[in-house]
Amino acid sequence: AQSVAQPEDQVNVAEGNPLTVKCTYSVSGNPYLFWYVQYPNRGLQFLLKYITGDNLVKGSYGFEAEFNKSQTSFHLKKPSALVSDSALYFCAVRVFNDYKLSFGAGTTVTVRA
């Protein structure tokens, strides 16, 4: 069985400060990892993914994530947060031969001006 844990329900940061959203995963086999963002009353928007290769993945809107196999983590980061980054963030995992995506419960990010 595969699963994702997002240990923080909420993350609060000041605008201009670094933002980190944590994610750990559990799978049998090599993981495919994803981050999505959800704004109020809207669907999930794809931010970035790790499939293979460089452990540091860069995505949309200045976000990046680092894959750490030994710690089974895939934390999302942004060097300088904006108020407009305030949203709900989901980490998701699947394995190569299974299209089923398993999502975490989500982390609400609030960036204060």
Partner: protein, 113 residues
């Protein structure tokens, strides 16, 4: 490029009534997914289509839920009869065949009274 389109965006019905949701995927995307998202949780897969074939419906409650994708393009998800616990957001997603990334629509928010 147009994204995944879903309708209606909101639906309020009384329990025991039927309801249907419609999804039009991104043009050229062979794979279509329906997800259920309860409040405060990540999406959970209900059914996955490859073209017109339902290749994974193991999580679909078949006693009251049904889905179809007759021509391999748009899809309909139906609930009959609806129960109070079905109140949630129903998300549709699509992806090109063999591609890892799923692209989500805005969802239909269902409230069962």
């Amino acid at each position: 490029e147009a994204g995944v389109v879903q309708s209606p965006r909101y639906k309020i019905i009384e329990k025991k009534q039927p309801v249907a949701f419609w999804c039009n995927p991104i043009s050229g995307h062979n794979t279509l997914y329906w997800y259920l998202q309860n409040l405060g949780q990540g999406p959970e897969l209900l059914i996955r289509y490859e073209n017109e074939e339902a290749v994974d419906d193991s999580q679909l409650p078949k006693d009251r839920f049904s889905a179809e994708r007759l021509k391999g393009v748009d899809s309909t998800l139906k609930i009959q009869p609806a129960e109070l616990g079905d109140s949630a957001v129903y998300l549709c997603a699509s992806s090109p065949m063999g591609q890892e990334t799923q692209y989500f629509g805005p969802g239909t928010r269902l409230l069962v009274l």
